[in-house]
């Protein structure tokens, strides 16, 4: 019984491990590193825009400072979105 169970676990583990080598379905390409970096930067920029908005609405930033920071952050965010689109198009074409 013990031997049967050991063989069962062995076969199960081996099939989990090596199935990608025999699978007809190709393993996913995974995300392009550039795209991952840009997505991380985009999410952080979105948070930064919302944080600046909250900092202004909670009285930590003056109206002038907020306007300048918000405009600069939105410009940077749009640039990130442009680059993200470009990378995705390149990746889709590849």
């Amino acid at each position: 019984m013990q031997l049967f169970l050991v063989m069962l676990v062995l076969c199960g583990a081996a099939s989990i491990m090596i199935s990608p080598l025999y699978s007809k379905r190709r393993a996913g390409r995974g995300q392009d590193p550039e795209e991952a970096a840009l997505e991380a930067a985009r999410d952080a920029k979105f948070r930064e825009i919302r944080d600046a908005e909250l900092d202004f609405s909670t009285g930590k930033l003056s109206r002038e400072d907020y306007r300048a920071i918000d405009a600069s952050l939105r410009g940077e965010a749009i640039e990130l979105l442009r680059r993200l689109d470009a990378v995705r198009e390149k990746e889709a074409a590849a």
């Binding site: 583990a13 491990m17 995974g30 979105f46 909670t58 689109d85």
Partner: protein
């Protein structure tokens, strides 16, 4: 070979094979091999789950053919403790470590299976490298499936000190924290190897770092609560090496959870973050090493072991590898451009908070390892005690509590002086008002550290309250929602920010508890006979009567005390001491119970204002003559006769008890520490909760602003 042992061998084969497959896949860009590496982690988790289930089932069935079961459980051990007894052993706890590592590794690799193409294979290899090390330990040095022949009829039982409900959750929480810290560690190593030092690896692993921080923090607090409510010494923190070992990675984790944000937002502190993450990962392994090696004296180090050298070798490898990688990749760890920030900004406060946290971590490291350092330098093993730790950690803790209040008040990038003044005004006034009120209520000015801690905590609470008030006000100005709805919405839309603020509330509550209980605690050791009274902290504690009971597991002697204040009954406390039999056959059928281990059940009346605590130490020495006489007359008594003799001793104790020693403690606001822990966990949960996924959208160049607005409103 048994199923469990076979699973361990299999795990030891899978881990290095998977690591090699991952590296080969990454270097040759063969995706199917990368998938083999990732799926090796899943297979490892499956195999270790079987091994874990086999051992756990052996404990629950009291299968004493397993050596580890016979030495850590017994037939009389209650079912609940049989389930937890597994990780009281060296072998079982290492298996738990490895199992949790495989589960968390599987989770992170499953979540990143379609992302981080370059990083994931190397991170997989690092995680499997950890599994290989721990697999080697459980296969070659600490085999949990060692069999005994012949099978003993009963086991020696779980160590009495560990018989507490916290045993079920305290070690798994700590080990979850330790193993989760290996996830950011592995991705940091992968980022260095691939030179991808942007924020992508942080984005993928931040939640795991936060989960590690929460598990470890709550695990530490559960341990402190266990110490307070169960161990008879009367404290919740002793600067024990193993307590310190858990605290150090937690502090490093606190630091990187703050400085991560600076890198994500501004691209700054890359080198600092990588060093902190690597440091936290290594400190997590160091924590396991301290518990398992027995290198330092600790109530947690369950005996010396043969694991010291392999752990030391592994830690040296981790340190050396990290230093080499960081040094060789320093070019990639520089900020992309010179970005300065104002001294009055959240970035500056985070940096200062990081310096304080790492300073605190260093002080604790130095104090913990001082016995080894002093032995290496002078040849004498000298250690430092709580006063030494308090001297350095208290000022740093006070500064950190103030930082917890200052951080939320500063804007990112820059805060103008006028803005800072506006934000600081109310919290500072609140803190000052609290100090004045405390002085007026009679808190002595001779306790400056406690007053400073209260002021810092009040400042932190005031600043978070102001932030919530202003945030809700801003939300209501546009949405016209009811205040509770606006509060929920503002927190939901900014989980990381407000989750963090709630954590700060938890920290403030915790430090109020620490400050009050450390500075204003009353403690007395008294010797009382029934009917006598002792006075402590304004309370009269009267020893009413002695109690006793006998079970096959232990003999319990105790006391009932009445606590009153100005003649008015406050509470009744019951404290007992349980005596467990030793395995020495020459000790006699009754004497063996008083020669073995003993544990205290604390009498505790807990409350938000103060805890009244007592532990009894019955004078067993006064009964030695009687016990020796019974053992002499009935040297071979067993079973029912032995139980009868024990009952006689217990009844005599209850009828005519000798004076007992009591430790009496009245400690204010200890409960605030546990309350702070709950709030801290809640805040962590809010911060960890994932935001809705941003939908992919394309937009013509003319409508970028509109698209940004849409994506922002959804993110």
């Amino acid at each position: 070979m048994t199923l469990g042992r076979a699973c361990l061998f299999l795990a030891l084969a899978i881990a290095p094979a998977g690591a090699l497959a991952s590296i080969y896949g990454a270097r040759s860009r063969r995706r199917e091999w990368v998938a083999v590496g990732r799926r090796s982690v899943y297979a490892l988790a499956a195999v270790l789950t079987v091994a874990f289930a086999v051992l756990e089932s052996a404990f629950l069935r009291s299968d004493f053919s397993f050596q580890v079961v016979s030495t850590h459980s017994s037939i009389a051990t209650p079912f609940f403790y049989k389930a937890a007894a597994m990780w009281s052993s060296q072998e079982g706890s290492l298996l738990l470590w490895m199992w949790l590592l495989s589960l968390w590794s599987s989770l992170v690799l499953f979540l990143t299976r379609n992302t981080l193409r370059e990083l994931a294979p190397y991170a997989t290899a690092v995680l499997l490298g950890f599994a290989t090390f721990f697999g080697s330990l459980v296969v070659f040095l600490a085999n949990p499936f060692q069999l005994l022949s012949p099978t003993p009829a009963d086991g020696t039982g779980l160590q009495p000190l560990l018989r507490h409900p916290s045993m079920m959750i305290h070690p798994p929480m700590l080990y979850s924290g330790y193993t989760l810290f290996t996830v950011p560690f592995a991705f940091a190593i992968a980022a260095l190897i691939t030179r991808r030092t942007d924020a992508a690896w942080i984005r993928a692993t931040r939640r795991f770092g936060l989960a590690a921080w929460c598990f470890l923090g709550i695990g530490i607090l559960i341990g402190a609560r266990w110490s307070w409510s169960e161990l008879g010494w009367g404290g919740y923190w002793a600067w024990d090496p193993v307590e310190n070992a858990a605290l150090m990675p937690w502090l490093a984790g606190t630091a990187f959870l703050h400085s991560f944000m600076v890198q994500e937002k501004r691209g700054l502190l890359k080198m600092w973050n990588v060093c902190l993450v690597l440091g936290a990962g290594i400190l997590a392994i160091l924590g396991t090493f301290l518990v398992r090696s027995g290198i330092l004296q600790s109530i947690h180090a369950f005996g010396g072991s043969t694991l010291g050298k392999p752990f030391l070798g592994f830690i040296s490898l981790l340190v050396l590898g990290s230093v080499v990688l960081v040094t060789s990749r320093r070019e990639y760890l520089r900020s992309p451009e010179a970005r300065s920030y104002s001294p009055l900004s959240r970035e500056s406060i985070f940096l200062l908070n990081n310096v304080l946290l790492i300073g605190l971590c260093f002080v604790i490291f130095w104090g913990t390892f001082f016995p080894l350092i002093s032995e290496a330098v002078t040849g004498n093993k000298a250690s430092v005690g709580p006063p030494w730790f308090d001297r350095y950690t208290v000022p740093l803790a006070i500064a950190l509590v103030f930082m917890a209040g200052l951080g939320p008040l500063m804007a990112w990038r820059k805060t103008t002086l006028a803005g800072a003044r506006r934000s600081l005004q109310a919290p500072v006034l609140f803190a000052l008002a609290v100090v004045v009120a405390l002085l007026a209520l009679g808190v002595p000015a001779s306790k400056p550290s406690a007053l400073a801690l209260f002021a810092g905590a009040a400042f932190a609470l005031g600043s978070v309250a102001q932030e919530l008030y202003r945030g809700v006000g801003a939300r209501r100005a546009t949405s016209h929602e009811a205040p509770p709805v606006a509060l929920v919405q503002v927190v939901r839309r900014n989980r990381r920010r407000y989750g963090g603020y709630i954590v700060h509330v938890g920290i403030a509550l915790l430090f109020i508890g620490v400050g009050a209980s450390a500075a204003f605690q009353h403690i007395r050791d008294v010797r009382l006979s029934p009917g006598q009274t002792a006075r402590i902290g304004g309370y009269d504690v009267r020893y009413l009567r002695a109690t006793s009971s006998v079970s096959p597991e232990k003999v319990v002697l105790g006391a009932v005390l009445d606590v009153s204040k100005k003649g008015k009954h406050v509470t009744t406390l019951r404290s007992t001491r349980g005596y467990y039999p030793s395995s020495d056959p020459t000790a006699g059928p009754v004497g063996q119970y008083f020669d073995g281990d003993s544990t205290t059940e604390v009498g505790l009346k807990a409350g938000l204002r103060r805890d009244i605590w007592t532990a009894v130490q019955p004078d067993v020495g006064a009964m030695q003559k009687m016990i020796a006489g019974i053992d002499k007359r009935f040297p071979l008594a067993q079973g029912d006769i032995q139980a009868l003799l024990l009952s006689v001793v217990a009844q005599r104790y209850a009828a005519a008890p000798p004076p007992a020693v009591f430790r009496l403690i009245v400690s204010p606001m200890v409960e605030w520490i546990w309350l702070g822990g709950i709030v801290l966990g809640l805040g962590g949960l809010i911060a960890i909760w994932p935001p809705p996924r941003a939908r992919r959208e394309r937009a013509p160049a003319s409508s970028w602003s509109a698209r940004l607005g849409r994506e922002l409103s959804r993110a």
